[in-house]
């Protein structure tokens, strides 16, 4: 089951070489750059939450439990007949759990995955419509695992009624899915909302939802709870409008804005899927995200995970922890979790040093910005074989530094030990606009295939920090002291 979990050994085993932008092994030689310009009390809340901190997503894992499947609104991008299409992958149904079963599952995962830092209730359905089950789950888990953070995701309709309960359960993070601040646009996204025992359709329903969302956002912010806004980017419906949304939620105190692309596969049976409403292309998403960069903090590392996902972002161990595989009572030992956190603290300080060194290197280069893709299993390092990559992390590099841009999903190129032409097409589509791919290792054939498509594959920096390697490559390729191209 541990195939996707980053073992501690892979974080500690191979240190980058000390030349150039190499790391510093001592934890005492610098503070973490990950905190940026954040006040300390906020950094403390987000630093171990993979969905709220881009840095944390390299180190920590989350799990979702599907305990509250009922919903109080209908969205055109969601089909609950099967599963919520935007929270999951097609064809895999969620296991619906009672709060007791969910608590048992959390303990089993905590015993096997020391990276686990967050438990979320995020659908299918709305966590605050069927609120009794959500809070009962938290009540059970907080007795067993006091160091875990809770997190909920909601459409906001019931949110104003539950502010006190959220505070009582020490929930630091709430995500509201908010696609519009204009009821006229909302009417095109939400066919109905169910409020106070009645179904409201069209603009009336959208207006109620909007007012409740803003009321909830304000109330949470007043209590010091961090609010992330998820917005689904629907081309032709709300794509340009999201600039207005960003400004509005920033004014109300939202901490983070996560713009995610619409998933509208006809096979999911959603209203958008069936009507042919398309999702945005990666380039369109990036263009919008770049326009939003001056507003509320933007999240770019979201993986749109399924409602019962388990593991690091971008991976899913949920099939290893289905109810029938859970032990009656898990033997839980808190020591590996404590050790893991200790290692991560050291690793963070080390990586911060490496990033600062990388920054110095690229400053010498005078060339247009390059988009590069990286194969990684986590830890912020280039540590995955090209053939095993299910997704690529995309970085932009220029003389100002190396910045995380987003991720692109690709079917695993290498399955059963060989790659085939079709898979390569999927990978090439995912790499559109990318000049260079960094990987721990790549075979000669795929390397040549990529070359034929105009993409250079580089495996000269295995297990090094991503930013360090990309910066050194950029400085060498485009810097004043040109060495290799």
């Amino acid at each position: 089951m541990s195939r996707n979990v980053i073992p501690l050994s892979s974080l500690t085993r191979i240190r980058p070489p000390q030349s150039g932008g190499g790391g510093c092994a001592s934890a005492s030689c610098g503070s973490s750059e990950g905190s940026g310009d954040m006040p300390a009390h906020i950094w403390d809340k987000v630093k171990d939450h993979p969905c709220y901190s881009e840095e944390a997503h390299h180190y920590f894992a989350r799990m979702h439990v599907a305990v509250a499947p009922a919903c109080n609104i209908q969205c055109n991008y969601c089909n609950r007949k099967y599963d919520c299409a935007n929270e999951s992958r097609p064809g895999v149904t969620s296991e619906k759990l009672t709060p007791e079963e969910a608590a048992r599952k959390v303990m089993a995962v905590a015993a096997k995955v020391p990276q686990l830092s967050v438990l979320g209730v995020a659908g299918p359905g709305d966590s605050l419509f069927d609120w009794r089950k959500t809070f009962e789950t938290f009540r059970l888990v907080e007795q067993l695992l006091p160091d875990i953070k809770f997190c909920i995701s909601t459409n906001g309709l019931a949110l104003p009624d539950h502010i006190e309960r959220i505070v009582d359960h020490n929930i630091d993070h709430v995500t509201i899915t908010l696609n519009t601040v204009d009821p006229a646009i909302g009417a095109a996204i939400y066919p109905w909302v169910y409020f106070n025992g009645k179904r409201y359709t069209g603009i009336d329903g959208a207006r109620i939802l909007h007012e409740r969302q803003m009321e909830g956002l304000e109330a949470l912010t007043a209590k010091g709870i961090l609010v992330k806004i998820n917005s689904v980017m629907i081309p032709g419906v709300n794509d340009q409008h999201l600039l207005e949304v960003n400004a509005a939620i920033k004014a109300k105190g939202a901490f983070l804005h996560n713009v995610l692309p619409l998933i509208s596969d006809p096979a999911h049976g959603t209203a958008y899927g069936l009507s042919g409403q398309r999702g945005p292309k990666p380039a369109e998403l990036k263009e919008l995200q770049d326009k939003l960069a001056g507003g509320a903090n933007l999240m770019r590392h979201c993986r749109q995970c399924r409602a019962d996902a388990v593991g690091m972002l971008g991976e899913d161990l949920s099939q290893d922890f289905t109810l029938d595989k859970l032990p009656e009572s898990a033997a839980y030992d808190p020591e590996p979790r404590r050790l893991y956190r200790e290692v991560v603290e050291q690793e963070r300080a080390d990586r911060a040093q490496a990033l600062a060194a990388a920054q110095v290197e690229v400053a010498r280069a005078l060339a247009p910005a390059q988009l590069v893709a990286v194969c990684t299993k986590g830890g912020g390092r280039i540590n995955q074989h090209f053939g095993h990559a299910k997704e690529f992390q995309v970085f932009e590099v220029d003389s100002l530094g190396v910045r995380f841009v987003g991720h692109r999903k690709a079917d695993t190129y290498c399955q059963g030990g060989y790659g085939d032409e079709e898979k390569l097409d999927v990978v090439l589509a995912a790499l559109e606009g990318i000049s260079t791919v960094f990987t721990a290792k790549i075979g000669r054939c795929p390397k040549n295939d990529l070359k034929a498509a105009g993409i250079e594959a580089i495996d000269l920096y295995p297990f090094e920090y991503i930013e360090t390697a990309v910066a050194r490559w950029y400085a060498e390729a485009f810097g004043i002291q040109t060495a290799t191209a």
């Binding site: 009922a70 919903c71 109080n72 209908q74 609950r80 007949k81 069927d130 169910y194 025992g197 009645k198």
Partner: protein, 62 residues
């Protein structure tokens, strides 16, 4: 007069159960059922179970 749930359409989300003002809905094996003797069809108001059900045509006149 009572409403009924078409079992093949039910997603077992449970929204109707806690919205029913008469506590006439409960889960039987995998899906929800309406106890005919308890259902008042919400006494002339729009039935709440129908209003909240995400699947059109799942809750119908019995």
């Amino acid at each position: 007069m009572a409403l009924q749930i078409i079992a093949s359409e039910c997603t077992s989300c449970g929204a109707c159960e806690f919205e029913c003002p008469n506590a006439a809905i409960s889960i039987k094996s995998d899906v929800y059922v309406i106890k005919a003797s308890g259902c008042t069809e919400c006494d002339g108001d729009a039935p709440k179970c129908q209003a909240v059900c995400p699947v059109e045509g799942c809750i119908v006149q019995g």
